[in-house]
Amino acid sequence: MDGSAEARKRAQSIIDVDNLSVHFHVDEGTLKAVDRVSFTIAERQMFGLIGESGCGKTVTAQSLMRLVPKPGQIVGGSINFFGEQGGKTDLVQLDKSGSEIRAIRGNEIAMVFQEPMSSLSPIHSIGNQLMEAVRLHVTRNKREAYEIALEMLDLVGIPNPVQRMGEYPHHFSGGMRQRVMIAMALSCRPRLLIADEPTTALDVTVQAQILDLIAQSQAQFNMAVLYITHDLGIIAEICDKVAVMYLGQIVEHGSVRDIFHNPLHPYTRRLLASTPRIGQRTSRLQTIEGTVPTPIDLPIACGFCARCPDRIDGTCDVAMPALVEIEDNHFVRCFLHDERQEVVL
């Protein structure tokens, strides 16, 4: 990359993930949960990461916070986080419990999880839990922290915030708990919000409320959002850019229109075709044959080739395709579109 491209990237992006690999050393061998994943999120962007269970989307998010659980290890790549003053920090190089990452985690990068009940402490009041984050990162003054917490609860649409501050998580419904989690994440005015399936456990009308809240907060705080989900509908409604993950790798990456109107990877195509849509008159849904293999000691081959109806025998099953830019900002990892191989060490 030459100097000007580097400068341009720095001016626009908030986080740049390059060749990130996360491996779990388990009894059966090495599980490649995240395998050379690269993407860049621009400031104020709504970036969607989509994939089925076990594809590595959550581990990718955990790496960005340096919260990969044991025995997982980041074994390669970099995660450059661009600070407000223009400096960049490689999060991979930081000590995962040191002061530098703690200044970023929860402060500049905040996260909302899928299950709000297990992310909140049942024995501390909502107010205390909210104030803890504020006092760690924003102000040490208890009075001020209280005011900020109150303001945040009001902002995320919790009625009667003064009374709610003293209540406990079990007093709150699922949707309200998720609002508290969002209030907590937003209280330090993060520049990047990671939302990991925040509406999966919620009903569709409550999901609409939470999506609306996330979109509003994004505009209000000028933050970027990394939205992780398996729901194609949500991606289509709120995201600008999308990366499709399969078996630890990004197989396709592009604008939301590219992915939905001109999907190139056979997996993306099948995923779109197997989603039932209201108003679409098909008697049978397309399916993807077989199941996702476990990414332990897999042969060097395209991860999707065993299930792919378009595979080229003798090509797809003996080499790993590289992620190549086929059209402007539309990347695909597939031999049908480009014969370049990934060099696997």
Binding site: V204, Q207, D212, L232, F260, R270, I278, R284
Partner: protein
């Protein structure tokens, strides 16, 4: 409906008492299901949708008599010339009726006993109803495995050896074991990934054609319900607020709650512009429901009458029933139509 329905539920109620204190005094009732009526024709799929806490699972469980209804009748046609009222049967009488109706559960990880082989799991209903034993039982289970797309040779394996989609197939095989006429499927695909979900939905449709099954398909995912159902009923706080043929309900809804539900479903197409109705608040508490129409605190068309008077479920256009005071006047938006 012209054909004799295989299932006819009338005035079904299920109340759970709220007890308090040392003497367990009953201080109130949770009206989980409150005056629900529905019909399912032979070979038909009725979709039942609603949010958590709307009572849809309780309806399914009452129909199969996993729960004893508080009130109402459940007329189930178990043979051409025999109709029984499931609500009135004693436990002993139920034993003979149970083979005719079965259930598919939501979670394929918790609904299969990890210490039982597939032969035990799928064969249990056959043993209980004394339909087969020994070699005959084994043959029947092997046949069922093939019907649902699993290897018949895997009979002696345990559930942990199968993936989520395969386990759900085992659940389907078990439900089919006794040759039932009616299957209550309670969120059968909501724990599965998109690609696996499509496989199970196709399987359910194939089996319906092959065995002439009727389904009560309970789900909260409207796109799945739209795909598989012939008719759809929408529940809200223990009551059916709208029931209609699939296309009527999805494209010409007559109840404001149905309209809001439809608008909340994300469309997998970035170019479809639609107005998303954000309902204020949350589903009402069935132990302490609001006055009048239960939906009025969240309804954007609310009028004075809605706070005082409960609307009745009535036929507002042929085959379409809705319980809203203004069902005839309101011009509600349905789901966006898609070109094929």
């Amino acid at each position: 409906m012209s054909a004799q329905p295989i299932l006819k539920v009338e005035g079904l109620k299920k109340y759970f008492p709220v007890e308090k204190g040392f003497l367990r005094r009953v201080v109130g009732q949770v009206k989980a299901v409150d005056d629900v009526s529905l019909e399912i024709a032979p070979g038909e799929t009725l979709g039942l949708v609603g949010e958590s806490g709307s009572g849809k699972t309780t309806v399914g469980r009452c129909i199969l008599r996993a729960l004893k209804p508080t009130q109402g009748s459940i007329q189930f046609q178990i043979a051409e010339d025999r109709i029984v009222d499931m609500a009135q049967l004693s436990e002993g009488e139920l034993r003979a009726v149970r083979p005719h109706a079965n259930m598919i559960f939501q979670d394929p990880f918790y609904s299969l006993d990890p210490r039982w082989t597939i032969l035990d799991i799928v064969g249990e209903p056959l043993k209980l109803s004394k339909l087969a034993t020994g070699k005959e039982l084994e043959d029947r289970v092997a046949y069922l495995m093939e019907v649902v797309g699993l290897e018949a040779t895997h009979l002696r394996r345990y559930p942990h050896a199968f993936s989520g989609g395969q386990r759900q197939r085992i659940g389907v095989a078990r439900a089919l074991a006794t040759n039932p006429r009616l299957i209550v499927a309670d969120e059968p695909v909501s724990a599965l990934d998109v690609s696996t979900q499509a496989q199970i939905l196709n399987l359910l449709q194939d089996l319906q054609g092959e065995f002439g099954l009727s389904y009560l398909f309970i789900a909260h995912d409207l796109s799945v319900v739209e795909h598989i159902s012939d008719r759809v009923a929408v529940m809200y706080v223990g009551k059916i607020v709208e029931v209609a043929k699939r296309d009527q309900l999805f494209f010409f809804p007559k109840h404001p709650y149905t309209e809001a539900l439809l608008s909340a479903v994300p469309t997998p197409d970035p170019d479809v512009e639609k107005e998303r109705i954000i309902l204020p608040g949350e589903i009402a508490n069935p132990a302490d429901p609001p006055s009048g129409c239960y939906f009025h605190p969240r309804c954007r068309y609310v009028q004075a009458i809605c706070r005082d008077e409960e609307p009745t479920l009535r036929e507002v256009s042929p085959g379409q029933w809705a319980s809203c005071h203004f069902a005839e006047e309101l011009n509600l938006a349905g789901a966006p139509q898609q070109p094929n």
